[in-house]
């Protein structure tokens, strides 16, 4: 009997698969002999593919990385590479899918559970707000509208801690409930602009010493919300309250956070408890690639313009969609921060790998992220496509008075402010520095720049942004809130106009009730500073 050659044997194997059937086809050759020939010719045993093309494709699009995708299947990096080579998946996916996207588009993408992705299988139809507040209240589930008395993970106050302390003393409790959960950065009037503020700051310094509150950041550190994030005082799945309306910002890490008043904070310091109503949730899906010169600030201003200042009143807003999944933590911060301006109680971008990566760079603390159930019930759902969005500007005197730049360009301004918790981070400074590099600020413009924190200030210094700003003719102020709330450092006179990257343009917000504030992105701010009038940044952004 003639022994088949290697090519013949491979053909037979492709057709008959098993050694037994190959033997039968060859006219009764025993199975062990076929196996012997195979080994001699270095041909492996035939095996069915373990993983389907859909499965491999799904993991590849989800991770775009052989090691991570392989880890999901328990195989090595090269093992996964072989599989995707087999299915001809050689190009890197353009966009990565994430669990949150799977949630928002469930059914449409048809991602299978068999792909080994941990999916939320709860049938309780709960949103992040419901699940997190239920966890805090020690309940299995919780309904919208219920009022719970909970102990937050973080209680943040800034300069208004002075007022909180006054109220706390009236209650008559000698000790705060938990000094480790209280964080106090001084930022609103830092350094003190008046004797009254100096007195308040002094009383705060005395109080934190006496109560052993370690997480106190004196005037040097920067804006409270950014400090909280940078120092990892809030983690995914946690609950925070703060005596500042923009406390909603911590949603950028998948936490729930909201603003409260000073008296409530005093009661919280005394009792460790606060009442919160479980809010309805709304789901905002943002799709499309942001065009050049358009940033997270433009996206959220556009959304506020569409939904109005009351559009998310008392609601918990959850952000989904491919645009959001690709945003950095800083951009997500801008989204959650400004969500307050449409009345949101909470604003949250569900935790994902971008948030995980950011957190890994600052802390090794453990945390438990919380996600909405796949079938969570939202009161409303909105979808926005930003692929054709223009830069946006919120005009006086309401944040929802939003217009595309084409309608407002040419308006002369007197002052430009770059900074605040909304847009004072390194990426914001970078955008502005790129535009201002080698250029001069218009002689009739005063440009004020406030890096949000000391850390950002130092980074901007290392990167050379500060030199660019100074060369261009800007004034760099110390980290803090500065002129955003009209406290000091750049107050407007009657009739003056200011374009700012801050968060509010209410009448009198930055000084005289007769002044005007326009809100826009750092790119618009930098371009406006050069031109002396509100200008479109797209011609400067390459």
């Amino acid at each position: 009997m003639k022994i088949p050659r290697k090519e013949e044997l491979l053909k037979l194997q492709a057709k008959y698969r098993t050694d037994k059937r190959i033997g039968e086809a060859l006219g009764g050759v025993p199975e062990y002999l076929v196996a012997y020939w195979r080994r001699k010719k270095n041909i492996g045993r035939y095996s069915l593919p373990k993983y389907s093309k859909e499965q491999i494709k799904d993991l590849w699009e989800r991770y775009g990385n052989d090691t991570k995708a392989g880890a999901e299947l328990g195989i090595s990096k090269s093992g996964f590479y072989k599989w995707r080579k087999l299915y001809n998946l050689l190009e890197k996916p353009k966009a990565l899918k994430f669990q949150q996207l799977e949630f928002s588009l469930a059914g449409q993408t048809g991602l299978s559970k068999s792909a080994g992705i941990p999916v939320n299988q709860s049938s309780r139809k709960s949103t992040i707000a419901q699940k997190l507040l239920a966890k805090k209240a020690g309940k299995a589930e919780i309904l919208v509208g219920e009022i719970v008395n909970v102990e937050p993970d973080l209680a943040m106050s800034h300069d208004n801690a002075g007022l909180v302390i006054k109220q706390f003393k009236q209650i008559g409790q000698s000790q705060v409930w938990n000094p480790h959960r209280i964080v106090i950065p001084l930022d609103h009037r830092a350094p003190a602009e008046s004797e009254k503020t100096a007195t308040a700051h002094k009383s705060i310094r005395g109080f934190v010493r006496e109560q052993k509150i370690k997480n106190f950041y004196d005037i040097k550190e920067g804006i409270c919300h950014q400090v909280v994030i940078e120092k990892a005082h809030i983690l995914p799945g946690e609950l925070a309250v703060g005596t500042d309306s923009h406390t909603t910002s911590y949603g950028c890490l998948g936490a729930l956070s909201t603003g409260i008043g000073a008296t409530e904070m005093a009661a919280l310091w005394a009792t460790g408890r606060i009442w919160l109503k479980v809010p309805d949730s709304i789901n905002i899906i943002i799709q499309g690639k942001m065009p050049k010169g358009v940033y997270a600030k433009d996206v959220i201003l556009y959304i506020i313009g569409q939904l109005t200042v009351e559009g998310a009143s008392y609601k918990s807003v959850e952000y989904y969609g491919e645009t959001v999944t690709k945003m950095s933590v800083s951009e997500r911060f801008t989204l959650c921060n400004l969500s307050m301006e449409m009345g949101a109680k909470f604003a949250v971008v569900p935790f994902d790998r971008i948030a995980r990566k950011y957190l890994f760079s600052i802390t090794r603390q453990k945390y438990e992220p919380i996600f909405s159930d796949r079938d969570a019930v939202f009161e409303k759902e909105y979808e926005f496509d930003v692929s054709n969005l223009e830069p946006q500007v919120a005009c006086p005197h309401n944040v929802d008075n939003v217009k595309p730049i084409s309608e407002v360009k040419g308006i002369k301004v007197d002052q430009v402010v770059l900074g605040s918790c909304t847009n004072g981070r390194l990426d914001d400074l970078k955008v502005a520095a790129k535009i201002l590099k080698g250029k001069k600020i218009h002689p009739e413009i005063r440009m004020l720049i406030l890096p949000a924190t000391r850390t950002i200030y130092l980074q901007a210094m290392k990167k050379g942004y500060l030199k660019t700003f100074l060369d261009a003719g800007a004034v760099i102020l110390n980290p803090g809130c500065g002129p955003c709330l009209g406290a000091h450092e750049g107050i407007l006179a009657a009739g003056e106009r200011c374009l700012a990257t801050t968060n509010r343009n209410f009448k009198g917000r930055m000084g005289s009730p007769e002044s005007f504030v326009y809100l826009a992105s750092p790119a618009v701010a930098a371009t406006t500073a050069i031109k002396g009038e509100i200008a479109d940044p797209r011609e400067f952004v390459k």
Binding site: Q170, S245, T271, P513
Partner: protein, 164 residues
Amino acid sequence: MEQITGRVWKLGDNIDTDVIYPGKYLPIIDAPEMALHVLEGLDPEFPKKIEKGDVIVAGFNFGCGSSREQAATSLKHAGIACIVAKSFSRIFFRNAINQGLALVQSKDAPDKIQPGETITINFASGEIITSQNQRFSFPPLPEFLMGILEDGGLIPHVKKSLKS
């Protein structure tokens, strides 16, 4: 706190906390001094015009913006007895209750009430009664919030509950 009768000051929609209490006065921590600047952003003469027991009637989203409690405190100490609005911003709502300042939410009443008229707000029956004897009912506040209001604010309320 059964009923409040007072003269009406009518304001519009989206009355924000920067208008109610401008940021430049935030370092003040003494409540009666705060009252001297209430609503200055809208009309610098306002603090002088308000009399004890007056009522504010406004549109949507009253108290939006900053979490500054001074907005509620200054209104309360300027003598405002109650605010009737189509809706309130979340933090202002909490702050007002915590300061013992009564709030009434009514979608219809603000449009019908005239500036300067005297209205009566009856909490027991849940009704606003205008000088023309028009009646508008409003939903009562949750019981524990009424408890805070009746104790005169959150501080006395917490003090009371810590004692018992």
